[in-house]
């Protein structure tokens, strides 16, 4: 086995969940595309906040409120630096889904939305509610059909919304090319980074996207905190869709003066501890370096792809070329339902994987398959864990 870029034994010491035994066996957690586990540094940040700093932000002059506000804004700065944005361009939301809904509601202007058939439901459903939506096709292995994208893009296209990495196939979409095409037609581009931001260094300035959305819980942070990046000059084309506390400078009975962005998009008391803990998760990732995270996840994916590819009766979906993929692999064992596969893996070896449509049913329909099993890796996973999983999968697939 090749040496992994990350020292997993050291990293694993930071993750308390790995100490848990179920039926005297450790847990092998391969459901990272749904949510990742949390290092003790993130857990400590949350408990430290509750123990020492808990107060509402932006509205108090007392010490705790000011300290809490500072921690919250510091988290915003960390997120901004993480993707090379300005802090004014970062809006804290609950998750990727909320971020896309916010853009869908808040973006002014007429025009159609272009998205693809491979998207997560949260990058499909919000667009169709109020606007015309067209869907870019994919090939048999899930790659976006760029010619179809070009043919569907015209002067009436307001925005192209596309996932950076498919949460089913793990395919890395050609985002720079898509953004270039989008810019040529004067349209906007939203990148769903839920499956890419946790795994690779992203620079929004270099990419040139208009919006980037991602979730904290998929990158070591807590649930209920997500990020919407908006290129600052686009605030002129947006208007807040939730009003209330924090979104205003002045309120009179006959009107109000809106707060400046990003605060005007964060109505009510936000998930303060979630944002601060997301900042801590980013610290953790930056400490081990995103280049290493990417290399580690790719190495695991390539090993799994290679081992699983050898198993007869096991069908992997999407391109088999490791260069095109990130750390998600969806598959089915012939003759055995995906839920059954997931259950057996869980009960026999405590291997936690996902089964179903992974919130991407149109993609499954397009590929002509039913629901699938999915494994996804992250920094604490090891080659040995992949060997254990593939050995059991091999037994299941070749048994009948």
């Amino acid at each position: 086995m090749t040496r992994l870029p990350l020292d997993t034994s050291k990293i694993r010491e930071d993750f308390p969940f790995l100490n848990r035994l179920i039926k005297n066996k450790p847990i092998i957690y391969f459901d990272n595309a749904a949510t990742t586990q949390k290092p003790r540094q993130v857990i400590h940040t949350i408990s430290n906040y509750y123990e020492n700093y808990c107060a509402n932000i932006h509205r108090g002059v007392h010490t705790l409120s000011q300290e809490s506000s500072e921690l919250y804004e510091e988290a915003r700065r960390k997120v901004a630096r993480f993707i090379n944005a300005d802090e004014r361009e970062i809006i804290f939301v609950r998750n990727t889904t909320e971020a896309i809904n916010l853009v869908s509601h808040s973006l002014k202007g007429e025009g159609k939305i272009l998205t693809t058939v491979m998207e997560h439901h949260s990058n499909l459903l919000p667009w169709g509610r109020e606007r015309k939506v067209e869907y870019v096709d994919i090939d048999n292995e899930g790659r976006i059909d760029i010619d179809d994208l070009r043919s569907k893009m015209d002067g009436s296209t307001l925005l192209v919304a596309v996932g950076h990495v498919s949460n089913v196939l793990g395919l890395i979409n050609p985002i720079p090319m898509i953004i270039e095409e989008t810019k040529k037609r004067g349209a906007l581009c939203l990148i769903d980074g839920a499956q890419s931001v946790p795994h690779m260094k992203l620079d929004v300035k270099e990419l040139g996207c208009d919006f980037l959305v991602f979730s904290g819980h998929k990158m070591l942070g807590p649930s209920g905190i997500g990020v919407l990046y908006i290129k600052e000059d686009l605030y002129e084309r947006m208007e807040p869709y939730l009003l209330g506390g924090s979104t205003i400078k002045e309120v009179h009975i006959n009107g109000y003066i809106s707060e400046d962005p990003p605060l005007c998009y964060e109505a009510g008391t936000p998930n303060i501890e979630g944002a601060i803990a997301l900042g801590s998760a980013i610290d953790y990732l930056e400490n081990i370096q995103m280049e290493n995270v990417l290399a580690h996840d790719k190495a695991l994916m390539e090993l799994a792809l290679e081992r699983m590819g050898k198993i007869k009766n096991l069908e992997i979906y999407g391109s088999k070329d490791g260069k095109e993929r990130l750390s998600v692999i969806s598959f089915n064992v012939n003759g055995m339902g995906c839920h059954a596969v997931a259950k057996v893996l869980s009960l026999r070896e405590n291997i936690m994987i996902r089964s179903g449509f992974h919130c991407a049913q149109p993609l499954h329909d397009k590929l002509g398959i039913g629901p699938s099993a999915r494994v996804s890796f992250y920094i604490y996973n090891t080659q040995e864990e992949i060997e254990i999983m593939t050995e059991l999968l091999s037994k299941l697939a070749q048994f009948i």
């Binding site: 039926k23 995906c338 009960l347 449509f357």
Partner: protein, 487 residues
């Protein structure tokens, strides 16, 4: 009988049996003959098969080999029912920790084996059927439907299963969406690959069984729980009226809800031949209400996905007749067999599954058995299944209360439409009650009545609610117990 049923039964099924390995019709006929045997004949036959499967399990299955060695026994030592008691039950955990290679027969041809799993996305238990077991299972289904409700293949059939996640999670999760006239079929034809072509056709028609059966499936109540809006209940009734199925199958709670609605609105019953509960236990109050509202018989069957059809009703409705040629059942409490009529856990041995023998499988249900001939003409042992072990309460005096008994107790109150009793710790309950038509609930009165029924030392807090939520798989648990370990 309509033309389709006649064609199917007289020509198509016999032809399939003649030209292929699919011997469902043949097995069905044998099974129907067995139904006329005396109890002694059945017991004799059952014991011969039991010995055979025990020997087979011992010889070929690593898990059972080890288990027999652990208890210092070999199957040849087993001479009567009492000897079988010494074999420990096989738990679901035993199955899943050894699945598949440790719990299946070694040295057999596995090419026609098939994975089976308990229904719902939770897939609590996995199993394997060989081709013959699959055939027998299919035939046992025909037998159960014929004997309990006179349903024969081809008659109209409607089902309302509990699965909540049919669309998003994908209940049919086989991943196989192959068409009949596909490239694969033509390639098999060109190469005259007779065996794989047969498999292709089998797989296709297996997928088409819904159409072959003339069965339509209505969606479950979903996440709304027990009390869905009346307009939705009305829509279900309209669908039943329109289709006029001979057999209407559904989760007992669904059928009970329809019945209560029909009675409340004084509506004429939809035309249904027979009603069958599945996916849960049907209590006597449910049964009486459904019979009254629909004006037809309610016939019950018993089985589980991992094994198949195990028992079915007769016209006397005094317990379900066990398919003794296919299963051996023990009813035990604290590991010891109970007397006829007494409550205990069910341990089931599948006499037909040679691919994956299930020996004294702890299926997780409680019930009673009855031996005496009650005059229906079938002499087999009868079973009365009364719910899940984990839903059975035990009071401070060690008396058992099944979820069926508790269901009927609470549904005896006019002001309660639905309920859920959750035992948080031993003898300490939360009681959730859905008021009937917005009725005021007499909290103190109900709690006192329950304490008199169950145990005066019980602590009970009653909370009125609007609905009782279903479990993850869509089924309902009206009693959640912490004391089931006592059984």
């Amino acid at each position: 009988m309509d033309l389709y049923s006649i064609l199917l039964q007289r020509f198509i099924l016999p032809a399939i049996a003649h030209f292929t390995d699919i011997k469902i019709w043949h097995e069905y006929k044998i099974m129907m003959r067995v139904e006329s045997w005396s109890l002694d004949e059945l017991k004799q036959y059952q014991f011969i098969k039991l010995k055979k499967i025990l020997n087979h399990a011992y010889e070929t299955v690593p898990f059972y080999k080890k288990r027999f060695h652990e208890i210092g026994l070999i199957p040849n030592d087993i001479r009567n029912d009492e000897d079988i008691i010494t074999i420990p039950p096989t738990t679901k955990e035993d199955i899943m920790l050894n699945f598949p290679e440790g719990i299946t027969a070694q040295g057999m041809d596995r090419t026609q084996w098939k994975y089976v799993a308990s229904s719902g996305t939770t897939r609590q238990i996995m199993g394997i059927h060989d081709f013959r077991k699959a055939n027998i299972n299919w035939a046992a289904g025909l037998r159960a439907h014929k004997l309990a409700g006179n349903h024969t293949i081809g008659k109209k059939w409607m089902e309302i299963p509990p699965h909540m996640c049919t669309n998003i999670c994908g209940i049919d999760d086989s991943g196989n969406r192959e068409k009949l006239f596909s490239k694969k079929m033509f390639s098999l034809l060109l190469n005259w690959n007779y065996k794989d072509l047969g498999q292709h056709l089998y797989q296709y028609f297996y997928k088409q069984r819904q159409n072959i059966y003339r069965r339509i499936t209505l969606p479950s109540f979903g996440t709304e729980g027990t009390n869905i809006p009346e307009k939705e209940v009305s829509a279900y009734i309209d669908s039943i009226k329109k289709y006029q199925p001979h057999t209407l199958e559904g989760l007992p709670l669904y059928l009970y809800t329809f019945a209560k609605y029909l009675i409340k609105k004084s509506l004429p019953p939809p035309k249904v031949g027979v009603i069958k509960p599945f996916g849960g236990s049907m209590t006597s109050i449910m049964k009486k209400t459904i019979e009254k509202a629909f004006g037809c018989e309610v016939n019950d069957t018993y089985g589980c996905s991992e094994m198949g059809f195990i028992a079915c009703d007769c016209e006397k409705h005094e317990g379900l007749h066990l398919f003794m040629d296919l299963y051996y059942i023990e009813v035990c409490r604290n590991g010891k067999p109970v007397a006829p009529g007494e409550l205990g856990k069910l341990y089931i041995t599948d006499l037909e599954n040679v691919a994956m023998p299930w020996i004294k499988y702890d299926v997780g249900d409680v019930g009673r058995y009855f031996i005496e001939d009650h005059g229906c003409g079938r002499k087999s042992i009868r079973l009365q299944v009364e719910g899940r072990v984990e839903d059975t309460l035990s009071n401070s005096r060690g008396e058992l209360f099944t979820s069926d008994q508790i269901f009927d107790f609470f549904h005896g109150f006019k002001e309660i439409d639905n309920f859920q009793l959750i035992e948080k710790s031993k003898g300490n309950f939360d009681l959730l009650c859905v008021p009937n038509n917005g009725a005021d609930i007499n909290k103190e009165g109900i709690v006192e009545e329950f304490k008199r029924f169950y145990s005066t030392d019980a602590l009970v807090k009653l909370y009125p609610v609007k609905t009782i939520k279903a479990e993850d798989g869509g089924k309902f648990r009206f009693v959640k117990s912490k004391s089931f370990g006592k059984i």
